[in-house]
């Protein structure tokens, strides 16, 4: 049976992890490769690296990091952040990334999704969507959720699927950072309306939030950062808890 996936997300700046991590057994808390290897051993199903650097050297630094991660890690990983062209994707996949995620660049140029899918296949193209519910309507936001657009979340998600994306990573800006649970109502709607996997992001705080997003939110995978980085939730404990709730997980 296909299992629900647990995905730690690592924010990367200039080749280093940004948010603090609380791993006593880590020699270098800023080294994404070491952290990734620990997550792979602790039962993470997949990893996401989100690059937030803004330097000229960004592309090359990220490509180097991908190569180092691929060398050490034996589970799949996705790379996102600032990816805007076929060339960007080509080098990242060539260096060993399993999937890339695009966000703002897809909104600005939706045809990019078709181009990437035609060249690399649906299976490695994830479209990340940041959205915020304003006066009842879910609107897509850009630049890490700072800039609102007039795009409706559900319409955009449908378009993303029609253009061939293999997966959607949906982050609710209303829930992100609250540690109060995922946006399950919107997630369930996405999961029902679309026929591609949906990754839930934003709002993880307690173990039952993951159960809720898989059951009520019908999510295929759940992504979180700080609860894992600060060891508030151990992945193994989380998976055992999910299993107790009859959710299929890899243990």
């Amino acid at each position: 049976m296909l299992t629900k996936r647990i995905i730690p997300c690592l924010d990367i700046k200039n080749g280093r992890t940004v948010k603090g991590v609380n791993f006593v057994d880590l020699r270098d808390a800023g080294d994404p490769v070491e952290l990734a290897a620990i997550y792979a051993q602790s039962g993470a199903d997949e990893l996401v690296f989100l690059d937030i650097s803004a330097t000229e050297e960004r592309r090359r630094t990220l490509a180097d990091l991908v190569l180092r991660v691929a060398e050490k890690v034996n589970i799949p990983f996705t790379v996102g952040g600032g990816i805007s062209s076929v060339e960007d994707v080509d080098i990242l996949l060539h260096n060993g990334a399993d999937k890339v995620s695009i966000n703002s660049s897809a909104v600005k140029n939706p045809q990019l999704i078709n181009e990437l899918v035609a060249k690399f296949g649906s299976q490695c193209i994830v479209v990340a969507i940041d959205a915020k519910q304003i006066d009842g309507e879910w609107l897509v936001h850009l630049v890490g959720g700072k800039v609102p657009t007039e795009l409706n979340l559900f319409e955009w998600a449908k378009e993303v699927e029609e253009r061939g994306a293999g997966e959607i990573l949906f982050t609710s800006m209303n829930h992100d950072g609250t540690k109060d649970g995922f946006a399950n109502e919107a997630l369930a709607k996405l999961s029902t309306q679309l026929n591609i996997p949906i990754i839930a992001s934003g709002g993880a705080g307690k173990m039952h939030h993951f159960t809720d997003t898989f059951v009520e939110g019908k999510a295929d995978a759940a992504l979180a950062a700080s609860v894992f980085h600060f060891k508030e939730i151990e992945i193994k404990d989380l998976k055992e808890e999910l299993k107790r709730n009859n959710i299929a997980v890899r243990l």
Binding site: M1, T3, N74, I75, P76, D98, G121
Partner: protein
């Protein structure tokens, strides 16, 4: 041991190369017919779309070389699918090593299937030391139905072939190079036990 990964411009080759490196083996990438023929073990990777991958194989004449190989060959993901008779994806004629036609998953399930599923009914030395219902990582929209060459099954809406074998030819729909410790064991079996 000489391990060659067939390089025809399709697939996440780097990950496979690194997986062998973690097992203590160096694999070389090659599209050279002689180098492929002389290898002890051959890996036939593949990610992406079937008809364009098959076109690349034909352009480099590898479509004629692969079915003639006598040493153990392991097709991974799209590589396995291209070793089949045909694929519904782009109405592609395959290499015809496995006598089965690759079909698209129905819309009763989410397509592509992405993530960790379980393999069972294991029957090959490729799975030595692998327990029934072990989890492995897959990403695919098309599948090979159960056939006489099936050596592992998985279930996603229907029961289908997670791995195939005929003589010296092996194929896995899943990615052993991304399937954690179990995947590494399967690759080790391919190198050391076959």
């Amino acid at each position: 041991m000489k391990i060659v990964i067939i390089d025809y411009g399709a697939g996440n080759i780097q990950s496979i190369k690194f997986a062998f490196q973690r097992l203590g083996y160096e694999a070389v990438l090659s599209s050279d017919a002689n180098e492929i023929r002389e290898a002890d073990k051959v890996i036939f990777p593949g990610v992406g779309e079937a008809s364009s991958a098959m076109k690349k194989l034909r352009e480099s004449k590898l479509d004629l070389i692969i079915p003639e190989l006598r040493q153990p060959v392991l097709g991974i993901c799209l590589g396995m699918q291209l070793m089949c008779h045909s694929s519904e994806e782009g109405n592609t004629q395959g290499l015809g090593i496995f006598d089965v036609d690759v079909l698209k998953f129905s819309n009763d399930v989410k397509v592509p299937q992405i993530g960790w599923n379980q393999i069972n009914h294991l029957k090959s030395d490729l799975f030595k030391g692998i327990r029934e219902n072990e989890h492995i990582y897959l990403v695919h929209s098309f599948y090979a139905p159960i056939c006489k060459e099936t050596i592992a099954q998985a279930e996603y809406g229907i029961v289908y072939s997670a791995a195939l074998q005929k003589d010296n030819f092996y194929g896995t729909q899943f990615h052993p190079e991304k399937s954690s410790d179990a995947g590494e064991q399967i690759l080790r079996n391919f190198l050391e036990g076959i």
